[in-house]
Assembly symmetry: C2
Homo-oligomer: 479 residues x 2
């Protein structure tokens, strides 16, 4: 990749263009597929997303979720069974109406989400309190003809996700599941993928269609807009009743189960990986989800043997390749920096003479020449601290962009500079709707919610209406 093939804008100055270029130049997805809102995911993103699936799935399995594969197609009447759920998704549903040239008796939806497919099976599978908690998940694609502007990875019309669906005995159990989902998000999205976010409970007016309570993680992009990462929901009694998911409790009484669902969208989380860690040179992959962790670049044919020896030692603990392409060394360096390889090992003729290697690490973008003997220890050291380093930087940036505010003016200023405004607020229940509308109208921003882990309590007045504050909320722009 020649120098002119690098990204031509700065990430923090023109984020939108930076994002478009990095997707194209790091070969993550081809946007030229001929259905609007659909894209072709290329090997470099798929290899990483497969690893992301691995971490999410093993974490869920450890917590007792069992995998299922449900059909992609859901009959129309399932979706209609609970009106607020259908209402939420109706305009976005892709409908199958024919097979061959035959019209179907009933339309089939490409699943926008799978509650209405699963709950009819929950009704068959769940009989007694001994069956609970019933914890499932599936890896699947979902389809939503989103009316908002599509953006690759961030908002596509087909996305690759995991959805978990659970049934519990009590509301308390269901709420504990939400907390467990929050922990899963922390363990995987933050600690492995390195994405900072806040986990909110959404205001009453911003719930998943069919949910009694909705919780969701918001990450923040450099353009000052938040992007919703996994959301988790406590399903409404009405929804559960519509599908008649009951169990016989230990007191012999029939009771409705308490349902929850959680939806980490891998293809969208991948966007946040790119955005959080990428820099003006391209991608930077956290260690565990890098398609390749170490790339060896011998700059002369005489060095191939040395490269091979090194590769054999490294592949015992990391994925490693040798770049044997015809490109000039500088091109190779730029190429692997664009691709986000965590560690590059450059070997020149001098290194052969001096028994050294040069290690380039993408977290700090620094080079260091070390003796052959020390090389393996050094690489292991970098591997150990690589993701931690990325996380530390990302957390610092994120935390620096949450600002306390006291009134509409201050909120406006904070939002304008691309940050998240924290303020006291009258109510995230129905009565707060008017204040939320004012924020939407005057700042084109949204009340994202309250956080479960917030220790501070509101002391004063709502930053908007001046009435008694009952909540601390966070306000941000979104896509």
């Amino acid at each position: 990749m020649a120098k002119q093939d690098g990204i031509t804008v700065k990430k923090n100055e023109n984020f939108s263009e930076w994002f478009t270029q990095v997707i194209q130049k790091a070969e993550l997805a081809d946007l030229r597929y001929n259905v609007k809102g659909f894209l072709v995911f290329q090997p470099w993103s798929v290899l990483s997303m497969e690893k992301m699936y691995h971490f999410l799935e093993t974490t869920l399995q450890k917590k007792g979720h069992m995998p299922h594969w449900f059909p992609t197609l859901i009959p129309e009447h399932n979706l209609k069974q609970e009106s607020s759920h259908l209402g939420g998704f109706a305009p976005e549903v892709f409908w199958v109406t024919h097979t061959g040239d035959k019209k179907l008796d009933e339309k089939l939806a490409l699943r926008p989400t799978s509650e209405t497919a699963l709950y009819q099976m929950f009704k068959l599978w769940i009989r007694s309190h001994n069956d609970l908690p019933y914890k499932t998940y599936q890896r699947a694609q979902v389809f939503r003809c989103d009316t908002k502007a599509t953006r690759p990875f961030l908002r596509s019309r087909e996305f690759h996700w995991i959805e978990t669906h659970c049934a519990h005995k009590t509301e308390e159990d269901a709420f504990n599941q939400v907390k467990e989902d929050m922990e899963t998000t922390e363990e995987v999205l933050h600690d492995i993928f390195g994405i900072p976010y806040i986990f909110f409970e959404r205001p009453a007016w911003d719930k998943f269609p069919g949910a009694a309570r909705t919780f969701a993680a918001d990450a923040l992009n450099p353009d000052g807009k938040v992007i919703q990462q996994p959301s988790t929901h406590m399903i409404s009694k009405q929804f559960t009743k519509a599908f008649d998911v009951k169990f016989k409790d230990s007191d012999e009484k029939e009771k409705y189960a308490h349902l929850t669902c959680y939806g980490p969208a891998v293809s969208r989380i991948f966007a946040s990986v790119i955005i959080t860690h990428g820099d003006d040179k391209g991608l930077r992959f956290p260690w565990d989800i890098a398609p390749t962790q170490v790339m060896i670049v011998p700059i002369d044919k005489k060095l191939h043997k040395k490269a091979e020896t090194l590769k054999k030692q490294i592949q015992k603990f990391a994925s490693v390749n040798i770049d044997l392409s015809d490109k000039r060394p500088g091109e190779k360096f730029n190429h692997w920096e664009m691709k986000g390889i965590p560690i590059r090992i450059d070997i020149g003729l001098k290194d052969l003479e001096n028994k050294t290697v040069t290690i380039f690490r993408r977290d700090t973008n620094k080079k260091e020449t070390v003796s052959e003997k020390e090389a393996i220890t050094k690489i292991k050291e970098i591997a150990q601290e690589f993701t931690k380093n990325l996380i530390k930087k990302a957390d610092k940036v994120f935390e620096g962009r949450i600002k306390e505010t006291k009134n509409l003016q201050e909120i406006k200023k904070v939002i304008k500079e691309g940050s998240i405004a924290k303020c006291e607020f009258c109510s995230v229940d129905k009565p707060g709707t008017e204040c939320a509308k004012k924020i939407e109208k005057e700042i084109v921003a949204e009340v994202r919610g309250t956080r479960l882990d917030e220790k501070q309590k509101p002391q004063g007045k709502c930053a908007i209406c001046g009435k008694k504050a009952n909540h601390i909320v966070y306000i941000a722009k979104s896509y």
Copy 2:
């Protein structure tokens, strides 16, 4: 699981019922989903199929295939671009015609297979001979509203597969890809999953829509019907031209690429795993694709500590669980035999006293009591030989069901007893069509093809028409 919950028929006497019962009683899939031909895959099959995906994908990656995720939806005009391809799939296509209540300008197909989605991208991606071979694959679901009777796993309307798509410089390279696909099938389907089959080249009248040559593996069910496992195709020039997939060769001339594709259908291969290895007690999983490899059954609470100690030792080299359920020991034994766990370790109170454990192996269905000290070595030994043992048995059964025949009478007899008839045949090209039709009409069987690895040459006359034989073919019933 009480004894009456076992399978009530013998596999070799009533295969169809055995298959239905094993799917239900080993909890592999729930057939009560409310769209015809679609099923809910349950954890016990999904856990195994995920392992199957793993082996297929790592093998393909080792051979240079790179993963992609293509959209599930394909515009109608892509499918129409090559008429024989559309013709082959048209009656089976699920069509999306609306999003929300808006009619689409152009119908979108749920992919029945992805050639017509990929080739338009190949046209963009492939420029020069340096880009070739271009080897891709994707893990995906495909949708075919098959007009034949659906059967769970064997023939569903949505199935889970891998499809590889490759572009090559020459016809010879393409043919070598077919051979590589054949090797992949042997390495994974036979050597890991333990499925015996024959890899055929299909007769001229039985090709994939759009293929110049079609190759496919046939496995054999106890009812005497073959089931097609992966097929691989050399795509016709006409198909390649329709999508204009060209490259500039080293002689500076523009040439059409030679395309191939290969499609191992994991959910169908899983059916062959069940069918090949299962017995009258239920499933038997090959070692590497067992959801759990070892189950420890302590028959008393006093034995839990011993079970835990054993588990810790075993989990270093195998997946292992302890059955702590309330069931009676006999029920537990039957349950795990039904579920196909390769090794069960029973611990009774006497074992505590004698410092022994009892090892039950599902390949031979035999129990052996060994000292605690020997246990781990013994389990490792069994693990080593387990799949080999299953394969040996399966191969023997399969080979015993291929019979040489000389005329229609003999073919009829062999087919009637549930075997595959091998015979000399006039021609698998167009001229043989009449003889094939006769076989279809009089025996309701099909010429499945010739084998690439056949060393014998035809010496005499066609078993049907008596004219000079040019091929050795295999004849069998199919679904």
